[in-house]
Symmetry: C2
Protein backbone atom coordinates (compact mmCIF):
# COMPACT_ATOMS: atom_id res chain seq x y z
CA UNK A 1 0.00 0.00 0.00
CA UNK A 2 1.26 3.46 -0.84
CA UNK A 3 1.85 5.55 2.27
CA UNK A 4 0.40 9.05 2.26
CA UNK A 5 1.43 11.95 4.47
CA UNK A 6 -2.06 11.86 5.96
CA UNK A 7 -1.41 8.32 7.16
CA UNK A 8 1.86 9.18 8.93
CA UNK A 9 0.44 12.37 10.51
CA UNK A 10 2.07 15.75 11.00
CA UNK A 11 4.55 14.51 13.60
CA UNK A 12 5.64 11.66 11.32
CA UNK A 13 6.08 14.06 8.44
CA UNK A 14 8.06 16.54 10.53
CA UNK A 15 10.35 13.73 11.69
CA UNK A 16 10.93 12.63 8.10
CA UNK A 17 11.69 16.16 6.94
CA UNK A 18 13.96 16.92 9.90
CA UNK A 19 16.09 13.90 9.02
CA UNK A 20 17.33 16.01 6.09
CA UNK A 21 18.50 18.88 8.34
CA UNK A 22 21.73 19.13 10.35
CA UNK A 23 20.86 17.99 13.88
CA UNK A 24 22.10 21.13 15.63
CA UNK A 25 19.65 23.30 13.69
CA UNK A 26 16.53 21.30 14.50
CA UNK A 27 14.13 21.52 17.41
CA UNK A 28 13.77 25.23 18.15
CA UNK A 29 11.44 27.95 16.91
CA UNK A 30 14.16 29.07 14.50
CA UNK A 31 17.61 28.00 13.34
CA UNK A 32 20.72 29.85 14.54
CA UNK A 33 23.99 29.96 12.65
CA UNK A 34 27.10 32.08 12.44
CA UNK A 35 28.39 33.90 9.36
CA UNK A 36 31.96 34.78 8.50
CA UNK A 37 33.06 38.20 9.83
CA UNK A 38 32.67 41.13 7.44
CA UNK A 39 30.33 39.31 5.07
CA UNK A 40 26.98 40.70 4.02
CA UNK A 41 23.92 38.48 4.06
CA UNK A 42 22.12 37.70 0.81
CA UNK A 43 18.58 36.39 0.75
CA UNK A 44 16.28 35.27 -2.06
CA UNK A 45 13.01 33.39 -2.25
CA UNK A 46 11.08 31.36 -4.82
CA UNK A 47 7.62 29.87 -4.79
CA UNK A 48 6.98 26.80 -6.95
CA UNK A 49 3.49 25.55 -7.62
CA UNK A 50 2.38 22.19 -9.02
CA UNK A 51 1.23 22.46 -12.66
CA UNK A 52 2.85 25.90 -12.98
CA UNK A 53 6.53 25.29 -12.16
CA UNK A 54 6.64 21.49 -12.09
CA UNK A 55 4.45 18.52 -12.90
CA UNK A 56 4.55 14.75 -12.57
CA UNK A 57 4.70 14.63 -16.36
CA UNK A 58 7.93 16.59 -16.75
CA UNK A 59 9.73 16.49 -13.40
CA UNK A 60 10.08 13.44 -11.16
CA UNK A 61 10.07 14.47 -7.48
CA UNK A 62 13.86 14.21 -7.17
CA UNK A 63 14.15 16.74 -9.98
CA UNK A 64 11.47 18.96 -8.38
CA UNK A 65 13.64 19.16 -5.26
CA UNK A 66 16.84 19.74 -7.20
CA UNK A 67 15.33 22.42 -9.43
CA UNK A 68 13.71 24.33 -6.59
CA UNK A 69 17.04 24.54 -4.76
CA UNK A 70 19.03 25.20 -7.93
CA UNK A 71 16.79 28.16 -8.85
CA UNK A 72 17.51 29.80 -5.50
CA UNK A 73 21.22 29.01 -5.50
CA UNK A 74 21.37 30.51 -8.97
CA UNK A 75 20.01 33.78 -7.56
CA UNK A 76 22.76 33.72 -4.94
CA UNK A 77 25.34 33.04 -7.67
CA UNK A 78 23.97 36.01 -9.63
CA UNK A 79 24.77 38.25 -6.64
CA UNK A 80 28.29 36.85 -6.29
CA UNK A 81 27.32 35.12 -3.04
CA UNK A 82 27.91 31.63 -1.71
CA UNK A 83 25.16 29.61 -0.04
CA UNK A 84 24.78 29.12 3.73
CA UNK A 85 21.40 27.42 3.88
CA UNK A 86 17.81 27.26 2.77
CA UNK A 87 14.43 27.08 4.44
CA UNK A 88 11.74 24.91 2.89
CA UNK A 89 8.04 25.71 3.20
CA UNK A 90 5.82 22.91 1.93
CA UNK A 91 2.08 23.09 1.44
CA UNK A 92 0.69 19.68 0.50
CA UNK A 93 -2.57 17.79 0.08
CA UNK A 94 -3.00 14.96 2.58
CA UNK A 95 -2.99 12.37 -0.21
CA UNK A 96 0.58 13.27 -1.25
CA UNK A 97 2.69 10.14 -0.95
CA UNK A 98 5.49 9.91 1.58
CA UNK A 99 7.70 8.70 -1.26
CA UNK A 100 7.09 11.94 -3.20
CA UNK A 101 8.12 14.04 -0.20
CA UNK A 102 11.22 11.90 0.42
CA UNK A 103 12.29 12.11 -3.21
CA UNK A 104 11.86 15.91 -3.22
CA UNK A 105 14.06 16.18 -0.13
CA UNK A 106 16.62 13.80 -1.64
CA UNK A 107 16.78 16.06 -4.68
CA UNK A 108 17.18 19.16 -2.51
CA UNK A 109 19.91 17.52 -0.45
CA UNK A 110 21.77 16.26 -3.50
CA UNK A 111 21.80 19.78 -4.96
CA UNK A 112 22.97 21.30 -1.67
CA UNK A 113 25.67 18.65 -1.28
CA UNK A 114 27.01 19.53 -4.70
CA UNK A 115 26.83 23.33 -4.45
CA UNK A 116 26.91 24.15 -0.74
CA UNK A 117 24.47 24.95 2.04
CA UNK A 118 22.12 22.93 4.23
CA UNK A 119 18.41 22.83 5.00
CA UNK A 120 18.23 25.10 8.06
CA UNK A 121 14.50 25.34 8.63
CA UNK A 122 11.06 24.76 7.28
CA UNK A 123 7.35 24.51 7.75
CA UNK A 124 4.65 22.13 6.54
CA UNK A 125 1.04 23.04 5.92
CA UNK A 126 -2.04 21.40 4.49
CA UNK A 127 -3.21 22.69 1.13
CA UNK A 128 -5.12 21.61 -1.94
CA UNK A 129 -2.15 22.19 -4.26
CA UNK A 130 1.47 21.11 -3.83
CA UNK A 131 3.50 24.27 -3.24
CA UNK A 132 7.19 24.56 -2.43
CA UNK A 133 8.55 27.80 -1.11
CA UNK A 134 12.30 28.07 -0.71
CA UNK A 135 14.31 30.89 0.79
CA UNK A 136 18.07 30.73 0.32
CA UNK A 137 20.50 32.60 2.53
CA UNK A 138 24.03 33.28 1.42
CA UNK A 139 26.97 35.46 2.26
CA UNK A 140 29.10 37.75 0.14
CA UNK A 141 32.07 40.03 0.61
CA UNK A 142 30.43 43.47 0.18
CA UNK A 143 32.97 44.61 -2.45
CA UNK A 144 32.15 41.60 -4.65
CA UNK A 145 28.39 41.99 -4.88
CA UNK A 146 27.18 41.84 -8.49
CA UNK A 147 24.20 44.05 -9.31
CA UNK A 148 22.07 44.42 -12.40
CA UNK A 149 22.69 48.15 -12.45
CA UNK A 150 26.47 48.00 -12.86
CA UNK A 151 26.77 47.47 -16.63
CA UNK A 152 29.15 49.96 -18.27
CA UNK A 153 29.09 51.13 -21.88
CA UNK A 154 31.59 49.04 -23.81
CA UNK A 155 31.38 46.03 -21.46
CA UNK A 156 31.35 42.57 -22.96
CA UNK A 157 28.22 40.53 -22.23
CA UNK A 158 29.20 37.06 -21.08
CA UNK A 159 27.00 34.00 -20.64
CA UNK A 160 28.27 31.12 -18.51
CA UNK A 161 26.75 28.37 -20.64
CA UNK A 162 24.26 27.24 -23.28
CA UNK A 163 20.80 28.73 -23.66
CA UNK A 164 17.60 27.13 -24.90
CA UNK A 165 18.36 23.64 -23.60
CA UNK A 166 15.95 23.75 -20.66
CA UNK A 167 13.03 24.76 -22.84
CA UNK A 168 13.95 22.14 -25.44
CA UNK A 169 14.08 19.51 -22.70
CA UNK A 170 10.66 20.57 -21.47
CA UNK A 171 9.23 20.29 -25.00
CA UNK A 172 10.71 16.79 -25.36
CA UNK A 173 9.11 15.79 -22.07
CA UNK A 174 5.74 17.25 -23.05
CA UNK A 175 5.87 15.88 -26.62
CA UNK A 176 8.03 12.72 -26.59
CA UNK A 177 7.29 12.16 -30.27
CA UNK A 178 9.27 15.32 -31.14
CA UNK A 179 12.65 13.74 -30.69
CA UNK A 180 11.86 10.25 -31.95
CA UNK A 181 14.20 10.34 -34.88
CA UNK A 182 17.10 11.82 -32.92
CA UNK A 183 20.01 10.47 -30.99
CA UNK A 184 19.05 9.36 -27.47
CA UNK A 185 22.14 11.04 -25.99
CA UNK A 186 21.06 14.36 -27.54
CA UNK A 187 17.54 13.96 -26.18
CA UNK A 188 18.82 13.11 -22.73
CA UNK A 189 21.24 16.05 -22.64
CA UNK A 190 18.34 18.46 -23.21
CA UNK A 191 16.02 16.71 -20.76
CA UNK A 192 18.76 16.74 -18.16
CA UNK A 193 19.28 20.47 -18.72
CA UNK A 194 15.62 20.95 -17.84
CA UNK A 195 15.48 18.59 -14.87
CA UNK A 196 18.89 19.23 -13.35
CA UNK A 197 20.05 22.82 -13.97
CA UNK A 198 23.48 23.71 -12.57
CA UNK A 199 23.64 26.92 -10.55
CA UNK A 200 26.84 28.75 -11.49
CA UNK A 201 28.27 29.21 -8.01
CA UNK A 202 31.79 28.30 -9.09
CA UNK A 203 31.96 31.32 -11.43
CA UNK A 204 32.32 33.74 -8.52
CA UNK A 205 35.77 32.44 -7.64
CA UNK A 206 36.95 32.79 -11.24
CA UNK A 207 36.16 36.48 -11.58
CA UNK A 208 38.99 37.74 -9.39
CA UNK A 209 39.27 41.34 -8.18
CA UNK A 210 38.46 44.41 -10.25
CA UNK A 211 35.70 46.81 -11.19
CA UNK A 212 32.15 45.92 -10.24
CA UNK A 213 30.59 43.35 -12.54
CA UNK A 214 26.91 43.48 -13.50
CA UNK A 215 25.24 40.13 -13.06
CA UNK A 216 21.90 38.41 -13.25
CA UNK A 217 20.76 34.87 -13.91
CA UNK A 218 18.84 33.85 -17.01
CA UNK A 219 15.98 32.17 -15.14
CA UNK A 220 13.44 34.18 -17.16
CA UNK A 221 15.38 33.93 -20.41
CA UNK A 222 18.51 35.44 -21.91
CA UNK A 223 16.61 38.30 -23.54
CA UNK A 224 14.94 39.19 -20.26
CA UNK A 225 18.26 39.21 -18.42
CA UNK A 226 19.95 41.50 -20.95
CA UNK A 227 16.95 43.84 -21.09
CA UNK A 228 16.70 44.06 -17.31
CA UNK A 229 20.39 44.78 -16.83
CA UNK A 230 20.35 47.36 -19.63
CA UNK A 231 17.37 49.16 -18.12
CA UNK A 232 18.77 49.02 -14.57
CA UNK A 233 22.10 50.40 -15.82
CA UNK A 234 20.65 53.04 -18.16
CA UNK A 235 22.37 51.53 -21.18
CA UNK A 236 21.54 49.35 -24.19
CA UNK A 237 23.06 46.24 -25.71
CA UNK A 238 23.83 44.50 -28.97
CA UNK A 239 23.59 40.70 -28.96
CA UNK A 240 25.32 38.90 -31.82
CA UNK A 241 23.01 36.14 -32.98
CA UNK A 242 25.75 33.77 -34.02
CA UNK A 243 27.52 34.16 -30.67
CA UNK A 244 24.60 32.83 -28.59
CA UNK A 245 25.81 29.44 -27.52
CA UNK A 246 23.46 26.49 -27.90
CA UNK A 247 23.95 22.78 -27.47
CA UNK A 248 24.41 21.08 -30.84
CA UNK A 249 21.46 18.84 -29.90
CA UNK A 250 19.17 21.88 -29.81
CA UNK A 251 19.89 22.91 -33.38
CA UNK A 252 19.41 19.30 -34.50
CA UNK A 253 16.11 18.71 -32.76
CA UNK A 254 14.43 22.07 -33.30
CA UNK A 255 16.39 24.17 -35.81
CA UNK A 256 13.54 26.59 -36.44
CA UNK A 257 12.81 27.10 -32.72
CA UNK A 258 16.36 27.12 -31.36
CA UNK A 259 16.90 30.92 -31.39
CA UNK A 260 13.53 31.68 -29.85
CA UNK A 261 14.07 29.16 -27.06
CA UNK A 262 17.61 30.41 -26.43
CA UNK A 263 16.36 33.99 -26.06
CA UNK A 264 13.02 33.46 -24.35
CA UNK A 265 12.91 29.85 -23.12
CA UNK A 266 14.12 30.59 -19.61
CA UNK A 267 15.20 28.29 -16.76
CA UNK A 268 18.67 27.68 -18.11
CA UNK A 269 19.96 29.30 -14.91
CA UNK A 270 23.14 30.56 -16.52
CA UNK A 271 24.69 33.82 -15.39
CA UNK A 272 24.67 36.82 -17.71
CA UNK A 273 27.55 39.12 -16.79
CA UNK A 274 28.77 42.50 -18.04
CA UNK A 275 32.47 43.27 -17.59
CA UNK A 276 35.49 44.76 -19.36
CA UNK A 277 36.29 42.89 -22.57
CA UNK A 278 39.85 42.02 -21.48
CA UNK A 279 38.62 40.54 -18.25
CA UNK A 280 35.95 38.57 -20.11
CA UNK A 281 38.52 37.18 -22.51
CA UNK A 282 40.79 36.23 -19.63
CA UNK A 283 38.20 34.24 -17.69
CA UNK A 284 36.36 32.72 -20.65
CA UNK A 285 38.64 29.66 -20.95
CA UNK A 286 37.96 28.80 -17.31
CA UNK A 287 34.17 28.99 -17.60
CA UNK A 288 31.92 25.95 -18.18
CA UNK A 289 31.33 24.52 -21.64
CA UNK A 290 28.99 26.82 -23.57
CA UNK A 291 30.27 30.02 -21.98
CA UNK A 292 30.66 32.80 -24.52
CA UNK A 293 30.88 36.54 -25.14
CA UNK A 294 27.50 37.16 -26.78
CA UNK A 295 27.48 40.91 -27.18
CA UNK A 296 28.36 44.35 -25.98
CA UNK A 297 26.87 47.06 -23.79
CA UNK A 298 26.01 50.20 -25.79
CA UNK A 299 25.19 53.85 -25.09
CA UNK A 300 22.09 53.58 -27.29
CA UNK A 301 19.38 52.34 -24.90
CA UNK A 302 17.87 49.77 -27.31
CA UNK A 303 18.63 46.07 -26.86
CA UNK A 304 19.28 44.77 -30.36
CA UNK A 305 19.77 41.33 -31.84
CA UNK A 306 22.26 41.74 -34.67
CA UNK A 307 23.96 39.69 -37.34
CA UNK A 308 27.22 41.57 -37.82
CA UNK A 309 26.20 44.99 -39.14
CA UNK A 310 22.57 43.98 -39.73
CA UNK A 311 19.91 44.58 -37.12
CA UNK A 312 17.63 41.54 -36.85
CA UNK A 313 15.27 42.55 -34.08
CA UNK A 314 14.82 44.74 -31.06
CA UNK A 315 14.60 42.52 -27.99
CA UNK A 316 12.14 43.10 -25.19
CA UNK A 317 11.04 41.32 -22.06
CA UNK A 318 7.49 40.93 -23.37
CA UNK A 319 7.93 37.51 -24.84
CA UNK A 320 9.29 36.10 -21.61
CA UNK A 321 7.06 34.03 -19.37
CA UNK A 322 4.64 36.24 -17.46
CA UNK A 323 2.65 34.49 -14.78
CA UNK A 324 -0.40 36.71 -14.72
CA UNK A 325 -0.66 37.94 -18.27
CA UNK A 326 -3.77 36.74 -20.06
Amino acid sequence: MVQTIQSIGEQGLIKLVQSYCPENLVGDDAAVFATAPGQSIVVTTDVLVDQVHFSDRTTPPHSVGWRSVAANLSDLAAMGASPIGITVGLALPGETTVDWVEQVYEGMRDCLNEFGGAIVGGDIARSTVRTISITAIGEVEPARVMRRSQAQIGDAIVVTGFHGSSRAGLELLLHPELGDEFDEADRQALIRAHQYPQPRLAVRRLLGQGNPIAGMDSSDGLADAVCQMARASGVGARIERSAISMRPALAKIAPEKALEWALYGGEDFELVLCMHLERAQAILPKLPSGAAIVGQVTADPAVLLVDGANMIAELSRDRGFQHFST
Copy 2:
Protein backbone atom coordinates in the same frame (compact mmCIF):
# COMPACT_ATOMS: atom_id res chain seq x y z
CA MET B 1 -15.03 47.56 -11.26
CA VAL B 2 -12.93 45.52 -8.89
CA GLN B 3 -9.37 45.20 -10.11
CA THR B 4 -7.87 41.70 -10.09
CA ILE B 5 -4.20 40.80 -10.16
CA GLN B 6 -4.82 39.14 -13.52
CA SER B 7 -5.93 42.51 -14.91
CA ILE B 8 -2.80 44.37 -13.80
CA GLY B 9 -0.46 41.57 -14.95
CA GLU B 10 2.67 40.21 -13.30
CA GLN B 11 4.70 43.38 -13.87
CA GLY B 12 1.96 45.51 -12.32
CA LEU B 13 1.75 43.20 -9.35
CA ILE B 14 5.52 43.15 -8.86
CA LYS B 15 5.57 46.96 -8.93
CA LEU B 16 2.82 47.14 -6.33
CA VAL B 17 4.56 44.66 -4.05
CA GLN B 18 7.97 46.31 -4.43
CA SER B 19 6.49 49.60 -3.25
CA TYR B 20 6.44 47.98 0.20
CA CYS B 21 10.18 47.19 0.17
CA PRO B 22 13.09 49.55 0.94
CA GLU B 23 14.29 50.84 -2.43
CA ASN B 24 17.92 49.77 -1.99
CA LEU B 25 16.89 46.12 -1.62
CA VAL B 26 14.79 45.93 -4.78
CA GLY B 27 15.76 45.11 -8.34
CA ASP B 28 18.35 42.35 -8.07
CA ASP B 29 18.17 38.56 -7.97
CA ALA B 30 18.50 38.71 -4.18
CA ALA B 31 18.63 41.29 -1.38
CA VAL B 32 21.93 42.15 0.29
CA PHE B 33 22.21 43.55 3.81
CA ALA B 34 24.78 43.83 6.57
CA THR B 35 24.45 42.41 10.08
CA ALA B 36 26.02 43.72 13.28
CA PRO B 37 29.46 42.23 13.99
CA GLY B 38 29.52 39.15 16.23
CA GLN B 39 25.83 38.42 15.88
CA SER B 40 24.50 35.04 14.81
CA ILE B 41 21.81 34.82 12.17
CA VAL B 42 18.41 33.39 13.07
CA VAL B 43 15.98 32.18 10.42
CA THR B 44 12.45 30.83 10.59
CA THR B 45 9.72 30.16 8.07
CA ASP B 46 5.94 29.78 8.06
CA VAL B 47 3.50 28.76 5.35
CA LEU B 48 -0.07 30.05 5.62
CA VAL B 49 -2.84 28.65 3.45
CA ASP B 50 -6.30 30.07 2.78
CA GLN B 51 -9.02 28.17 4.68
CA VAL B 52 -6.40 26.54 6.92
CA HIS B 53 -4.61 29.47 8.58
CA PHE B 54 -6.84 32.34 7.54
CA SER B 55 -10.16 33.00 5.86
CA ASP B 56 -12.22 35.94 4.64
CA ARG B 57 -14.70 35.09 7.38
CA THR B 58 -12.31 35.50 10.31
CA THR B 59 -9.39 37.60 9.10
CA PRO B 60 -9.65 40.68 6.91
CA PRO B 61 -6.61 40.91 4.59
CA HIS B 62 -4.88 43.53 6.77
CA SER B 63 -5.02 41.05 9.65
CA VAL B 64 -3.82 38.21 7.38
CA GLY B 65 -0.69 40.26 6.66
CA TRP B 66 -0.18 41.27 10.29
CA ARG B 67 -0.66 37.73 11.61
CA SER B 68 1.63 36.11 9.09
CA VAL B 69 4.44 38.49 10.01
CA ALA B 70 3.67 38.36 13.74
CA ALA B 71 3.88 34.54 13.74
CA ASN B 72 7.39 34.68 12.31
CA LEU B 73 8.56 37.55 14.51
CA SER B 74 7.27 35.58 17.48
CA ASP B 75 9.59 32.71 16.51
CA LEU B 76 12.50 35.17 16.43
CA ALA B 77 11.45 36.50 19.84
CA ALA B 78 11.37 32.92 21.17
CA MET B 79 15.04 32.57 20.20
CA GLY B 80 15.99 35.86 21.86
CA ALA B 81 16.62 37.42 18.45
CA SER B 82 15.62 40.75 16.94
CA PRO B 83 14.25 41.03 13.40
CA ILE B 84 16.23 42.18 10.36
CA GLY B 85 13.80 41.42 7.59
CA ILE B 86 11.36 39.02 5.96
CA THR B 87 10.83 37.55 2.53
CA VAL B 88 7.31 37.08 1.26
CA GLY B 89 6.35 34.31 -1.14
CA LEU B 90 2.83 34.67 -2.48
CA ALA B 91 0.93 32.11 -4.52
CA LEU B 92 -2.38 33.54 -5.73
CA PRO B 93 -5.27 32.81 -8.08
CA GLY B 94 -5.56 35.35 -10.90
CA GLU B 95 -8.96 36.50 -9.64
CA THR B 96 -7.49 37.73 -6.33
CA THR B 97 -8.28 41.43 -6.03
CA VAL B 98 -5.52 44.01 -6.05
CA ASP B 99 -7.13 45.47 -2.94
CA TRP B 100 -6.68 42.16 -1.07
CA VAL B 101 -2.98 42.07 -1.93
CA GLU B 102 -2.51 45.72 -0.93
CA GLN B 103 -4.26 45.21 2.38
CA VAL B 104 -2.15 42.12 3.15
CA TYR B 105 1.01 44.13 2.49
CA GLU B 106 -0.28 47.06 4.57
CA GLY B 107 -0.82 44.63 7.44
CA MET B 108 2.68 43.18 7.03
CA ARG B 109 4.23 46.64 6.89
CA ASP B 110 2.32 47.87 9.94
CA CYS B 111 3.51 44.88 11.96
CA LEU B 112 7.13 45.38 10.82
CA ASN B 113 6.95 49.10 11.57
CA GLU B 114 5.85 48.33 15.10
CA PHE B 115 8.26 45.48 15.85
CA GLY B 116 11.23 45.95 13.52
CA GLY B 117 12.44 44.60 10.19
CA ALA B 118 11.60 45.27 6.55
CA ILE B 119 10.37 43.29 3.57
CA VAL B 120 13.68 42.36 1.91
CA GLY B 121 12.54 40.06 -0.85
CA GLY B 122 9.77 38.00 -2.32
CA ASP B 123 8.28 36.03 -5.14
CA ILE B 124 4.84 35.81 -6.70
CA ALA B 125 3.37 32.76 -8.37
CA ARG B 126 0.07 31.70 -9.84
CA SER B 127 -1.87 29.10 -7.87
CA THR B 128 -5.39 27.86 -7.25
CA VAL B 129 -5.21 28.62 -3.52
CA ARG B 130 -3.99 31.76 -1.75
CA THR B 131 -0.76 30.82 0.03
CA ILE B 132 1.60 33.10 1.94
CA SER B 133 5.05 31.89 2.79
CA ILE B 134 7.15 34.10 5.04
CA THR B 135 10.74 33.66 6.08
CA ALA B 136 12.01 35.95 8.83
CA ILE B 137 15.68 36.66 9.36
CA GLY B 138 16.95 38.02 12.64
CA GLU B 139 20.14 38.42 14.58
CA VAL B 140 21.10 37.46 18.10
CA GLU B 141 24.12 37.72 20.34
CA PRO B 142 25.22 34.05 20.55
CA ALA B 143 25.32 34.05 24.37
CA ARG B 144 21.69 35.17 24.55
CA VAL B 145 20.10 32.50 22.35
CA MET B 146 17.11 30.89 24.07
CA ARG B 147 16.60 27.20 23.32
CA ARG B 148 13.86 24.77 24.22
CA SER B 149 16.40 22.39 25.69
CA GLN B 150 17.72 24.72 28.40
CA ALA B 151 15.07 24.26 31.11
CA GLN B 152 16.56 23.41 34.52
CA ILE B 153 14.89 21.52 37.34
CA GLY B 154 13.45 24.06 39.75
CA ASP B 155 13.07 26.82 37.13
CA ALA B 156 9.97 28.96 37.19
CA ILE B 157 7.79 28.74 34.07
CA VAL B 158 6.86 32.22 32.93
CA VAL B 159 4.28 33.26 30.33
CA THR B 160 4.48 36.75 28.87
CA GLY B 161 0.72 37.27 28.62
CA PHE B 162 -2.80 35.86 28.54
CA HIS B 163 -3.68 32.52 26.97
CA GLY B 164 -6.89 31.39 25.30
CA SER B 165 -7.83 34.80 23.91
CA SER B 166 -6.92 34.05 20.31
CA ARG B 167 -9.03 30.90 20.20
CA ALA B 168 -11.92 32.70 21.91
CA GLY B 169 -11.68 35.49 19.33
CA LEU B 170 -11.75 32.93 16.53
CA GLU B 171 -14.87 31.29 18.00
CA LEU B 172 -16.58 34.69 18.25
CA LEU B 173 -15.74 35.35 14.60
CA LEU B 174 -17.01 31.94 13.51
CA HIS B 175 -20.13 32.07 15.72
CA PRO B 176 -21.08 35.73 16.21
CA GLU B 177 -24.19 34.69 18.16
CA LEU B 178 -21.93 33.34 20.96
CA GLY B 179 -21.10 36.71 22.40
CA ASP B 180 -24.41 38.47 21.78
CA GLU B 181 -25.22 39.02 25.40
CA PHE B 182 -21.73 40.22 26.34
CA ASP B 183 -20.00 43.54 26.48
CA GLU B 184 -18.81 44.74 23.07
CA ALA B 185 -15.44 45.79 24.53
CA ASP B 186 -14.90 42.24 25.84
CA ARG B 187 -15.82 40.75 22.47
CA GLN B 188 -13.52 43.11 20.64
CA ALA B 189 -10.59 42.45 22.98
CA LEU B 190 -10.77 38.74 22.17
CA ILE B 191 -11.27 39.27 18.44
CA ARG B 192 -8.33 41.65 18.43
CA ALA B 193 -6.18 39.06 20.19
CA HIS B 194 -6.95 36.68 17.32
CA GLN B 195 -6.52 39.16 14.47
CA TYR B 196 -3.60 41.21 15.81
CA PRO B 197 -1.29 39.09 17.99
CA GLN B 198 1.69 40.92 19.49
CA PRO B 199 5.05 39.20 19.07
CA ARG B 200 6.99 39.56 22.33
CA LEU B 201 10.18 41.04 20.94
CA ALA B 202 10.48 43.58 23.75
CA VAL B 203 10.88 40.81 26.34
CA ARG B 204 14.42 40.04 25.20
CA ARG B 205 15.73 43.37 26.47
CA LEU B 206 14.12 42.85 29.88
CA LEU B 207 15.81 39.53 30.60
CA GLY B 208 19.26 40.94 31.30
CA GLN B 209 22.37 38.77 31.60
CA GLY B 210 22.55 35.45 33.39
CA ASN B 211 22.16 31.72 32.91
CA PRO B 212 20.67 30.46 29.68
CA ILE B 213 16.90 30.77 29.56
CA ALA B 214 14.72 28.15 27.88
CA GLY B 215 12.23 29.72 25.53
CA MET B 216 9.55 28.88 23.02
CA ASP B 217 6.44 30.62 21.77
CA SER B 218 2.94 29.34 22.41
CA SER B 219 1.86 29.35 18.76
CA ASP B 220 0.64 25.74 19.09
CA GLY B 221 -0.77 26.24 22.57
CA LEU B 222 0.57 26.64 26.09
CA ALA B 223 0.41 22.90 26.81
CA ASP B 224 2.34 22.10 23.64
CA ALA B 225 5.05 24.64 24.53
CA VAL B 226 5.54 23.30 28.04
CA CYS B 227 5.55 19.68 26.82
CA GLN B 228 8.05 20.40 24.06
CA MET B 229 10.45 22.28 26.34
CA ALA B 230 10.16 19.56 28.99
CA ARG B 231 10.92 16.83 26.49
CA ALA B 232 13.79 18.76 24.87
CA SER B 233 15.31 19.44 28.32
CA GLY B 234 14.74 15.95 29.74
CA VAL B 235 12.60 17.29 32.56
CA GLY B 236 8.93 17.59 33.53
CA ALA B 237 6.71 20.39 34.75
CA ARG B 238 3.85 21.25 37.06
CA ILE B 239 1.44 23.92 35.85
CA GLU B 240 -0.76 25.53 38.49
CA ARG B 241 -4.25 25.83 37.02
CA SER B 242 -5.17 29.00 38.90
CA ALA B 243 -1.93 30.71 37.78
CA ILE B 244 -2.69 30.45 34.05
CA SER B 245 -3.54 34.00 33.15
CA MET B 246 -6.65 34.65 31.05
CA ARG B 247 -8.41 37.81 30.06
CA PRO B 248 -11.46 38.42 32.25
CA ALA B 249 -13.51 38.54 29.04
CA LEU B 250 -12.61 34.91 28.32
CA ALA B 251 -14.02 33.61 31.59
CA LYS B 252 -17.16 35.68 31.06
CA ILE B 253 -17.85 34.57 27.52
CA ALA B 254 -16.90 30.89 27.75
CA PRO B 255 -16.38 29.85 31.37
CA GLU B 256 -16.56 26.14 30.63
CA LYS B 257 -14.15 26.34 27.68
CA ALA B 258 -11.65 28.86 29.05
CA LEU B 259 -9.12 26.41 30.48
CA GLU B 260 -9.16 24.18 27.39
CA TRP B 261 -8.62 27.15 25.08
CA ALA B 262 -5.88 28.56 27.29
CA LEU B 263 -4.01 25.24 27.22
CA TYR B 264 -4.70 24.06 23.69
CA GLY B 265 -6.13 26.99 21.74
CA GLY B 266 -2.85 28.15 20.26
CA GLU B 267 -1.92 31.29 18.33
CA ASP B 268 -1.64 33.52 21.38
CA PHE B 269 2.03 33.99 20.40
CA GLU B 270 3.15 34.57 23.95
CA LEU B 271 6.58 33.41 25.08
CA VAL B 272 6.89 30.53 27.53
CA LEU B 273 10.19 30.86 29.40
CA CYS B 274 11.98 28.77 32.01
CA MET B 275 14.39 30.60 34.33
CA HIS B 276 15.48 30.86 37.97
CA LEU B 277 12.60 31.84 40.22
CA GLU B 278 14.36 34.96 41.54
CA ARG B 279 15.02 36.21 38.05
CA ALA B 280 11.41 35.51 37.06
CA GLN B 281 10.14 37.46 40.07
CA ALA B 282 12.45 40.35 39.23
CA ILE B 283 11.34 40.77 35.62
CA LEU B 284 7.66 39.95 36.08
CA PRO B 285 6.60 43.53 36.94
CA LYS B 286 8.16 44.75 33.68
CA LEU B 287 6.40 42.19 31.47
CA PRO B 288 3.15 42.90 29.58
CA SER B 289 -0.23 42.66 31.21
CA GLY B 290 -1.12 38.99 31.73
CA ALA B 291 2.44 37.84 32.32
CA ALA B 292 2.66 35.31 35.13
CA ILE B 293 4.63 32.52 36.73
CA VAL B 294 2.44 29.53 35.88
CA GLY B 295 4.45 26.63 37.18
CA GLN B 296 7.75 24.97 37.87
CA VAL B 297 10.18 22.65 36.11
CA THR B 298 10.39 19.25 37.82
CA ALA B 299 12.71 16.26 37.81
CA ASP B 300 9.75 13.95 37.25
CA PRO B 301 9.33 13.85 33.46
CA ALA B 302 5.52 14.16 33.47
CA VAL B 303 3.88 17.49 32.62
CA LEU B 304 1.09 17.89 35.14
CA LEU B 305 -1.75 20.33 35.55
CA VAL B 306 -2.26 20.78 39.28
CA ASP B 307 -4.49 22.62 41.72
CA GLY B 308 -2.24 23.09 44.72
CA ALA B 309 -1.47 19.57 45.93
CA ASN B 310 -4.08 17.92 43.69
CA MET B 311 -3.16 16.58 40.27
CA ILE B 312 -5.85 17.48 37.74
CA ALA B 313 -4.47 16.05 34.53
CA GLU B 314 -1.36 14.99 32.71
CA LEU B 315 -0.81 17.33 29.79
CA SER B 316 0.27 16.16 26.37
CA ARG B 317 0.74 17.66 22.96
CA ASP B 318 -1.93 15.42 21.44
CA ARG B 319 -4.80 17.81 21.80
CA GLY B 320 -2.92 20.58 20.01
CA PHE B 321 -3.67 21.38 16.39
CA GLN B 322 -2.15 18.80 14.07
CA HIS B 323 -2.30 19.65 10.40
CA PHE B 324 -2.35 16.17 8.93
CA SER B 325 -4.04 14.12 11.61
CA THR B 326 -7.42 12.77 10.56
